[in-house]
Structures are given as structure tokens and as C-alpha cells.
Symmetry: C2
Subunit: 530 residues, 2 copies
């Protein structure tokens, strides 16, 4: 734990990176390059004003809410970290001595929920990439945490640094991918003790977007915070004013929060960084087999985790995460993008809006390949998360095989589908010219609109031009060898990678980042089991 | 035209099939077998109570409405049938002498729209298959009118009777397919003069569901009405009280209604049968390149057609059809299931609800095969038509290649997706047992829900069991040869066809039907060009 104390001192000492001259200079450099939008950026600030759907009546919503509070009061959670239990006891929770069990009075939970901010900004090192979280904002994050990676040429293989970097570069290539979401694939060829240093350093260098740090032990959080701070070229004080890094905190459902996750909340919330509390409540496995029951449990676990962030620091930015789905009752395998998943996503949105807290959900599917199933399960997920008012969408692009594999082709398919959702959410032009009475008058009955001035003035931008959809007629498509979406996606991801450009980074920042990573590697990184 | 008069006399003479004893007997037989639901029927009466989406503000909706009325007043429509123009003139429309042009005062249109019924029942020969049209009801009709048919084994081929019959049988096999929708594929191996006799006779014999008659000349409508009447074993008077047959009336966009379509309205509406007025307004081709403009034109054409049904018979059942999509501006090819299509579908729903008239839309895609594109374009269509409040969904299952091909595999894929939509729309159980507090208490923190009483009591029916989704893990899926959705659909459609059972039909009805078809064939069917 020596490293921890050292880094905490480092963070707290202004002479080591807070308000000293180099940082001030960098801040000016950043300001000069600020709001430098990428060329053709179209999807940077998405807003979803569509009326949100409901699967719970007002009464049912209240019943779910009360049932989850009853669970927290009567059953409680196992909190696997003495420091966290002590903080909870101090805040008024009922800790059973000599056990991990903590029970929470419903009044305590709701008093803490009242401090949660309803919206906040996550700050990227390029301010153009800042993302607004909450309200009607819709932010897409790349796939995270797949152990495997696949493309059609290379097949399915264990995660590795080369593919990690390619996937991160692809995320940089598309403005519809607003943030990365963690490691798109776990690069197991980098030793676990220093993996976070290499990976987060890559995040800063290969992208200019907001990124994520894993809560797998206190030191990783602290290293991540420092890397994000260096990347932005700001002081720790500014970092605390401007949340710049996020972490996913999963409960160990049912009703347990493990030590590293609790440490993640403590380190991140204390520094006003973003925590996304996401129970993983598969109905029939880690949660009741009924979707309503799974949602009740999801809500109990989410409220406990969110309340804990506010015990650590009132007003700390936090999101309500939902990941409830069902399992295949024949095999026990998780299922995604199902009707049950859709209902759970919508219900989660209703709960998040009830608490006035940003809502995190996901673009999921369980297909093993890029076939129709991959598309319909993802499309149904997108339907539900759009209608459910999802604010921050994890695994937006690249998720395959229920999250076990990051697929290059699926990444492109998802980008195309996300862009279609964005286009659908774009307001319809209903100005006089758009209503087109004069265009109709010019053409008249029995005519056609090809080549009319009204058409010529608009045809290049009138409609979304998809990346993958093949609209050639059957004969032309046959002559081209009958390519499928999979074929097109396989071609496109390679073409797109060839266009990748490293986003500009102040050389001083890069030097400081390299020096930090080198020093932390010399220190041995973080302790691991292997 | 001799046939027409003969049939009309026939229809009007009670001794030829109205209230005579055989019909009465048949009616009792029908009553005895009434409401005989097929085994495991789950999706017969779908209701979509989800809050509907909007892409037009109230002001914009009014602007679209007024713009379309301005078009009808100032530009008008070409009405290519003297009898129709005469009826319109008599009803108060402004017919320009010596031309086809008819202009409609906005007051006239809206006065006629006031007579349109907001809901009605379409009656099948098996009352279990009756469908409620309008309100929150959601009815799925099979693909119609494809010139080609395809499965993976046999490839793409011209429509033919054998495939026609197979597709109709498949429609009978699934209760989520509420009606057929026309000929799922055009059987060009049957001569056009008698095709409608063979095909509609097949509809009665191979299914017990509501069916469609093409408006391709007056006599076909009359033959269709008679076949539907015989199939139901009822009198013409009862048939007029109980709409049992529907026809699609497409405008020839822009702003033209052709003779056969107008005849279809005259014959069908006069007998209180169902007319579905559907402009085919591809933005950038037959309509303005702006979606708002295409919707204005769609609305003008739909209002003209619908108003004409009410000139023929006030209160006649009619639907507002929308088919607005965009074209691929690179090639001019129609595009479907696009963001623009989604907006058009939602806008059409807003207009139909404004007029309080049932809304017909479609499940579309433009893919040439059963790949991801086929799935995402269809899923986006389903999203829009569900959120847009579609009541009657044409081309729900089997539509491939922008409607040029009826695909057996796509039929199964669509059935699966439709069932998922139906499951999504099923109310969530939020009873005390479903909320699951006791189930959570029994398991407690750190446990699991496999094998608990709460799970065991529900697991077999808790979740939708998809037809095609392959949820096996990667290893098991690899051992099975890595099948895609296309592979599964290819297997399933053949298996399902093997389970087909002809629905019971009163032998007297079958005899009467055969006699009618034989007589009409002897008479030469209908005149054709070839």
C-alpha cells in the first residue's frame, strides 16, 4: 500500500502537478486548441427529446421503489470492505457487528439520493469531446471488457494489445462514439500489474475522448485519476471541479458489494469523478426470475451503491446503471436484446427519472457472429434504450457474443445503427420549403421529382447515407458477388483504420505522461495475484 | 362487362346464397365451431398501449394537414375514371370539364372524413381470426405482391403457385400472422384471367383468416367479395354488416388515382368492405425530396382516396395508409427501414390519429439476403410502426429485397421479430409475487436463484423462447457448425411447413366455392391484356 500513500501525497502536493507554471502553460495550449471539432463531426451532441416509454404504471413504479427500499431495510447488503462499512455506520446505516451485513433505512437512502446531481459534464482532454450526462442527452461509449476479440480474417482470439489499440483507434475515428468505455478488449499480453498504465496511457494518446478506469483496487483508480489529470494538463483542483474519468461499479448480485468496487467509489467519489453503479441482475440467475423482481433487486443494489457515493462526497457525480436481462432457461446462458431486456431497460429509465439521476444502459446482443440475430438483438436494445431515456450507453459498438468478444465487424455495424438512431432523433425540417407545396405544384399529377430544382438543391444531404446497407438491385448485387453486411463491415473496419489520425497532444503532456507511467512501472505497478 | 352484371344480380338475389336454408345451416355450423382457437394461440388479439411517439409538433402537424388540403384545393388530383369523376362532381368536388383533374375544397374533404369509422372488425371465416382494426389494436398481415420468391435451397425464382401455397400455409401456421395480405408471391404460372379465382379459393381453403382482393378491375373485386361470402357461409346482407375482405388502393403518386383503383373503391366501399388507401410516396422520386414534403403529398393523396370511399358510402370502413420512404440518391433505388422511413411512419401515425382513422403501415427492408441489414432495417421499421401506432401492418413477414422477393427464411425471421414485439407489448406482471421480495429474502446476499421455488414455478414460461436466436456458447455453437440466423430460418420454415394442418371447412361451403370458381372459369374469368 506504499504506492497508494505516495500517489495520494503526489496528488495533494501542488508542486507536483497542480498549479505550477508548466500546468498553467499547458492549460493555455489546451484553451488555444479548444473546441477544435473533427472534420465532418455530426453526432457530437446528441439529444433525445422523444417522449419516453413506460412499462410500469405510476402505482407499479412506486411499488417497485418501495419494495427495493424494503429489501435494503429488512435484508440489507453484504459490504465486503471494513472501511466502507465504517463509513456507512457513520452515515447512519445499521451495520451488524462481526458480519458484512449492512441495512439501510429508507429515509437514509432517500436523504442521500437528494444530493445526487441530475446532470453533469464529463471533461475530455479535447473540450469538443466533453459529454453532457443526464437530462435528454444521449452519449455512446464503446464496448468494454471483452476477454476475446474477433474479426473474420483472424477469427476469435484472446485479447491483446495490438487489437486493443486498433479498437481504441476505431473509437477515435467515429464521432458517434462519444467516449471509450473501458478496455474494448482485455489485453492479456500485458501483465496485469501494469496493464492499466499502458492502457490508460494509450487512451490519452490514441484518443482525445473521455475514458474509464477499472475499479480493481484502489491504486488503479488513483493511477487512472493521475493519468486523466496529466492528459488534460490541469491541476487536481480543476480535475475535482471538472469530472474527467469514470468507473463502472458492478454489484455482486444478489445484494453484495465487493471490496475493490467499494474502494473505487471511495477514491473516485472523493475526488468528484464519475461512478456508474450497475447491478448485473440476470433474472433467474442472480435475481428473481420475474422481470419485476429483477428490477426491484437492481433498484435496491443501485440505490445502495449510489447512496454510498453520497456518503463519500455529497453531490459527487454518479449514474444509475441498469443491466437486467433474462437467461436462456434451457441452458442458463445470458440472453440479451430480448423482449424482457427491453422491458427492463424501460423500467430502469422510469426509476432513474423518478430519482432524477442520469441513466446508464447498454447496446447488447448474444449472437456468436455478425448475422441477423446480432442486428435484431442490438436494434431492439437501441429501441429500448432510446425509448427508455438512456443517457450513457455502454457497449454501444463492438459487443458480440454477450460481451465475451469484441468484434471489429460488429463495431462498424453498431456505428451504422447508432448513426441511424441519431438521424431518427434529429428534428424533422417542417419549414415552408420543406413542406414542399410549390415543389408539388411544379411537378403536378403524374410527374416525377427527379432533377427538379427542389430535389437538386437537397439530394446530397437529404437522407442518411448508411455505411453498410447494400441497396443495389439484385442483379448488380449478384455481379458484385452477393456481399452480406458481414462482408461490408469486414472491408470497412480495415479501410477506416487506414484513415486513423492520432489526435494532437501537447508534447509536454506526452512527456509528463510517459514519465509518470515509467515511474509507476519502476515501482512495480500494482500488486496482482500472478 | 356481362359477367359483372351477372354477378351483381347473383349477389342481390337471396335465393342464390343469402338467407336460404343451406346458408342458415352453414351459419349454425360456423357458430358451433366458432371461437375455436388454435392450440397454443398466444398472439391473436394484440394491443399496443405504449405511448405513441411524435416527430411533428402540434403546430407542424397542423401545417402538414393544411398544406395537404391546399394541394387538394389548388392543384388537385387526376382521377382516371369517368364514373369516379362524376361521383366526385355530384359530391361537390370541382371537376375541370374535358380533363381528369379534380379539385377538392377543404371543407368537403373534412366533412367526408367525419364519416370515417375509427374502429371496425374484419371478419374471418373462423371467428377466432376476426381482427379489430383501429384504436390500440395491432394486426400483422403477411407479405404481399412480390414478383419473386426465394429460399436458400432453391434460390430466387419467379412467383408460382406451389410457392404461393407454401407461403399461405406458413401464414396459417403462426397466430402472430393475423391475416394474409394479398398474394405473398404472384403466381405467374396461373393465367391472369383466372389467377384471382384460384388464389382466393386457396386463401379460403388453406387458411381461416381474413384475406385481400386486388383492385385490378371491377370484376376481380366482385369475384373476391363472392368468394369471401361463400367462405364465411353467410348472406350478402350479413357480409355488408360484417366487413370481411380488404383491398389496397395505391395512388399513382404524384396526385393520381387510376381507374382500377377507383373501381376498387366503388365496388368495395359500396358493399361496406375494407379499403386501405396507400399513397406510395418515395421522397425524391414520386414525392418531394424532403420527408415533410413527401408526408404532405402522402396526406393529400390519402385524404382524397379516403374521402372518395365516403362519397361512395358514408361510414364505409377505410384505413389511412402510409408508405413514405426515401430513395438512395446515388442510384434512385428505394430505401426502407431507414431513419427517414421511421420519421415518415411516426408522422403518418400522427396524421391518422388526428383524423381518428385506423393506420396502415409496413415492415420493410431493402436487403437482398437474410443478413444483418435485413434484420436492422426490419427492426427499425417495427420500432417506428409500434411507436407510431400502426394498426394494420402490411408485409409483416417475408418481405425481402424492397418487396421484390418473398423470402421463406425472412418470413420466419419476421415471425420471430413480430413475436418479440408482441412480448414487449405484453404488460409486465407487477403483483406481489412478481416483485419478489420474499424470493430475494430466501436467497439472500451472495446466493443464486437457480432452482429456488420462485424460479421453478415460473421458469418454463417466464421468458419468450425465440425461434431463431442461437444462445449457445461459442464452443457449442462451433461444434454445431457455426450456424447463422439464415441457417436456422432455412431449417425452421421447412419443419414448420411439415406441421401445417388445413383448417376445417364445411364440405358444403367447399362445394359451393368449387362450383363458383368452376363456373367463373368457364365464363373465362376476367379479361386481360394477354
Amino acid at each position: 500500500m506504499g504506492d497508494v500513500i505516495k500517489l495520494e501525497n503526489h496528488l495533494e502536493q501542488p508542486e507536483n502537478g497542480a498549479d505550477d507554471t508548466p500546468v498553467e502553460r499547458r492549460r493555455q495550449n489546451v484553451a488555444r486548441s479548444a473546441r477544435r471539432a473533427p472534420p465532418n463531426a455530426k453526432y457530437l451532441d446528441l439529444v433525445n427529446t422523444t417522449a419516453k416509454s413506460a412499462v410500469l404504471s405510476e402505482d407499479a413504479l412506486e411499488a417497485v421503489h418501495q419494495a427495493s427500499l424494503t429489501i435494503l431495510e429488512e435484508i440489507g447488503m453484504d459490504i465486503i470492505l471494513p472501511e466502507a462499512r465504517e463509513r456507512m455506520r457513520a452515515a447512519g446505516a445499521d451495520v451488524t457487528p462481526g458480519t458484512d451485513r449492512v441495512r439501510f433505512d429508507r429515509g437514509l437512502i432517500m436523504a442521500l439520493m437528494a444530493h445526487v446531481p441530475s446532470t453533469f459534464t464529463m471533461h475530455a482532454r479535447n473540450p469538443v469531446r466533453n459529454v453532457e450526462i443526464g437530462g435528454d442527452n444521449l452519449v455512446f461509449a464503446q464496448i468494454a471488457s471483452a476477454p476475446f476479440v474477433a474479426d473474420r480474417d483472424g477469427g476469435r482470439r484472446a485479447g491483446n494489445q495490438e487489437d486493443f489499440r486498433k479498437l481504441v483507434k476505431l473509437a477515435q475515428c467515429y464521432d458517434i462514439i462519444h467516449t471509450t468505455g473501458g478496455y474494448p478488449v482485455e489485453p492479456v499480453d500485458i501483465h496485469a500489474s501494469i496493464r492499466h498504465l499502458d492502457c490508460l496511457s494509450d487512451m490519452v494518446k490514441l484518443t482525445d475522448k473521455v475514458f474509464h478506469v477499472y475499479s480493481l483496487g484502489r491504486q488503479r483508480n488513483l493511477d487512472g485519476i493521475e493519468i486523466a489529470r496529466i492528459g488534460r494538463g490541469i491541476s487536481m483542483e480543476q480535475m475535482e471541479r471538472e469530472p474527467s474519468l469514470f468507473t463502472i461499479v458492478n454489484t455482486s448480485s444478489p445484494l453484495r458489494l465487493d471490496g475493490p468496487m467499494l474502494q473505487g467509489i471511495i477514491e473516485m467519489s472523493a475526488r468528484n469523478q464519475v461512478v456508474v453503479v450497475t447491478p448485473f441482475t440476470l433474472a433467474g440467475a442472480m435475481a428473481p426470475v420475474t422481470i419485476a423482481g429483477a428490477i426491484v433487486q437492481q433498484n435496491a443494489e443501485a440505490l445502495a451503491g449510489i447512496a454510498f457515493t453520497q456518503m463519500v462526497r455529497k453531490g459527487a457525480p454518479v449514474m444509475y446503471g441498469g443491466f437486467t436481462s433474462n437467461i436462456d432457461m434451457k441452458t442458463g446462458a445470458p440472453a440479451f436484446g430480448t423482449p424482457e431486456y427491453m422491458k427492463a431497460v424501460i423500467a430502469g429509465g422510469q426509476l432513474a427519472r423518478k430519482y432524477n439521476i442520469p441513466y446508464r444502459t447498454s447496446n447488447t446482443n448474444a449472437s456468436n457472429t455478425l448475422d441477423a440475430q446480432a442486428a435484431y438483438e442490438s436494434a431492439f436494445s437501441l429501441w429500448a434504450l432510446t425509448q427508455g431515456g438512456g443517457n450513457f450507453i455502454m457497449h454501444s459498438a463492438g459487443w458480440s457474443e454477450g460481451g465475451l468478444t469484441a468484434s471489429f465487424e460488429k463495431f462498424i455495424l453498431d456505428v451504422d445503427m447508432l448513426q441511424m438512431v441519431a438521424e431518427y432523433l434529429t428534428p424533422l425540417d417542417v419549414g415552408t420549403d420543406a413542406l414542399g407545396i410549390e415543389a408539388v405544384r411544379d411537378v403536378g399529377p403524374g410527374g416525377h421529382f427527379f432533377g427538379t430544382p427542389h430535389t437538386l438543391a437537397r439530394y446530397e444531404t437529404a437522407f442518411y447515407s448508411p455505411i453498410l446497407s447494400d441497396w443495389r438491385n439484385f442483379e448488380a448485387w449478384t455481379e458484385a458477388g452477393r456481399p452480406t453486411t458481414y462482408d461490408h463491415a469486414n472491408r470497412v473496419f480495415k479501410e477506416k483504420l487506414d484513415t486513423y489520425e492520432k489526435p494532437p497532444l501537447d508534447p509536454d503532456i506526452e512527456d509528463e505522461l510517459d514519465a509518470f507511467v515509467a515511474r509507476r512501472k519502476e515501482e512495480g505497478g500494482v500488486p496482482t495475484d500472478s
